[in-house]
Amino acid sequence: MTLRRTSNADEVSVTRRGTALDLPGDDAGRGNEPAGRTAFGVTVVLLLALATALRFGQPERFAWLQNFFVVFGAILLEAMPFVLIGAVASAVIEVFVPASAFERIGRLPTVLQLPCAAAAGMAFPICECGSVPVARRLLRRGLAPGAAVTFMLAAPILNPVVIASTVVAYHGRPDFWVVVLGRFTLGFIVAVAVGWVIGARRPDEVLRKGTIDPDDDDHSPDESRWSRFAGHIAGDFIFMGRFLVVGVAVAAAIQTVIPQTLVAKVAGLPVLSIVVMMALAFVLSLCSESDAFVAASFTQFGPAAQLAFLVTGPMIDIKLSALYAGTYSKGFLRAVLVTASVIILAGTLWAAVIWG
């Protein structure tokens, strides 16, 4: 069965850009089959069984399981409001911003588009969980992929809240300027560079096929703006939220299994220490608004390794990888991982040579 549904917004952008931005809405496979009463019944029974097992099975008897659930709950409670704020911003872009605004940005020369997109992140005080739905919506409204991705990667590092938290965390330390200026400079460079790499792709090569907002495909043309607004918020929240749940579960499991104290053993090794701190940022999946305080606690590591931690985390981590994998194509995830990692490694090695 191939229904080839597209939302109204997609049709606008296809017409305007003349590209094949065709997002079939989960059309292929069993997922598109209507859920019958049996499926509803089974789902409710399974969820009730889970609740009963958790309530009466006393899983907190196992210290590692208790540790997992505490970390899992904490990251989710911190991240979900930001996902929702991102969904609201995304819905505003979809419903209230006219398409002509994106056409104007699209007319800027590429050499200006990417730095402008990165700079726009400075005015957007959201962390990485919120920037993904916004970038996705920008892409679907027809913004050039390079600019949307640059914005997505830059906003979690360059926004005022993150600048403030980094300044506070490193205040009074000898490596203050190296880390603070280095974070924003390197973050800016990496965001623009990844945007430049992605910019060569067509929108339909960037967004994952077979996904659509749960609410995007049942809007009638005569529906009110507020109804569409509510629909896009719910759609983005559900779309992003499920990938976030998976990513957070993996991050919490790794935090539970792998002691962070293990990493201290490689602190003295110049290249390996940077690689390990990048890997740690990937695994911990911390919010960019708090990661500076954690980075500052790894004093066994030099400023270059801490810098690597601070630039890597807001761009590539486990929970983000789950969000990227659900939102973008496989090639996109690979391009972001490789490009960002290489530039962060090169930039921080350069910093290590100069500042140790």
Partner: protein, 232 residues
């Protein structure tokens, strides 16, 4: 216009998350997950999620609604599972399992607080004294002062039964960034300290080299504090 089940399902998921945030807020569990710095996220999340859920449910009617697909059901279930987990499980915190697996609070990472020369000493002050030489020197000037500190008991293999480590976690945003701080308590009646139990210790504090100890004069078990984590 008929009820659109997909919209109602989306509204129900949002309502479930709103309920979780309200539950965490009203049951006083915010401190079990978030620091005082980020506690505002819970009421803010509860309010925004409630508005979003009401908005979706209010627009739940449409003409010729599409059926609910299996993928919708799977996505909704995945999102509801964490809600069930957090609602069903009893309130718990990081404990002795996490000690030694997390970094120690800002050793050398924080600027000297300059606030240890006077005032009531806390576990955060002990952590700062173990982090900077200036604060350690300030704490040494207060050796033998009587302090009252709250934390949970951690014991180590091979440790004398008359000693234990009074432990706390310090968080910046949420439990995921927790770092640990500990102070050794000595002169404890053998067998009186149960691992993971929360206690209030009164005794004289001594900063000896880089280690801080409390020579206990009294100890009483207490319930877990509403804010079990300190904010660094």
């Amino acid at each position: 216009m008929t009820w659109n089940l997909r919209r109602l399902l989306a509204g129900a998921v949002l309502a479930a998350w709103a309920a979780l945030f309200w539950f965490v807020l009203l049951s006083g569990r915010t401190g079990l997950y978030l620091s005082t710095r980020t506690a505002w996220l819970v009421p803010a999340g509860a309010a925004i999620l409630t508005v979003a859920a009401l908005g979706r449910l209010a627009s739940g009617r449409s003409g010729a609604p599409p059926p609910v697909r299996r993928s919708d059901l799977r996505g909704a279930s995945l999102l509801v599972i964490p809600v069930i987990v957090l609602l069903a499980l009893p309130a718990s915190t990081l404990g002795t399992f996490a000690l030694g697996r997390r970094p120690v609070f800002g050793v050398g990472a924080t600027a000297p607080s300059g606030g240890l020369s006077s005032g009531t000493l806390s576990m955060v002050d002990v952590a700062r004294a173990q982090a900077t030489k200036e604060d350690l020197a300030a704490l040494q000037h207060r050796n033998a002062e009587t302090v009252v500190m709250v934390g949970f008991v951690a014991t180590q293999p091979g440790e004398p039964s008359t000693e234990f480590m009074l432990s706390r976690f310090i968080i910046t945003c949420c439990v995921a960034d927790a770092t640990e701080t500990q102070v050794r308590v000595v002169d404890v009646p053998a067998g009186s300290a149960r691992p993971n139990a929360w206690v209030q210790v009164t005794g004289r504090i001594y900063a000896l080299g880089s280690q801080v100890i409390i020579d206990m004069t009294s100890m009483k078990p207490i319930p877990r504090p509403a804010d079990p984590y300190l904010t660094g």
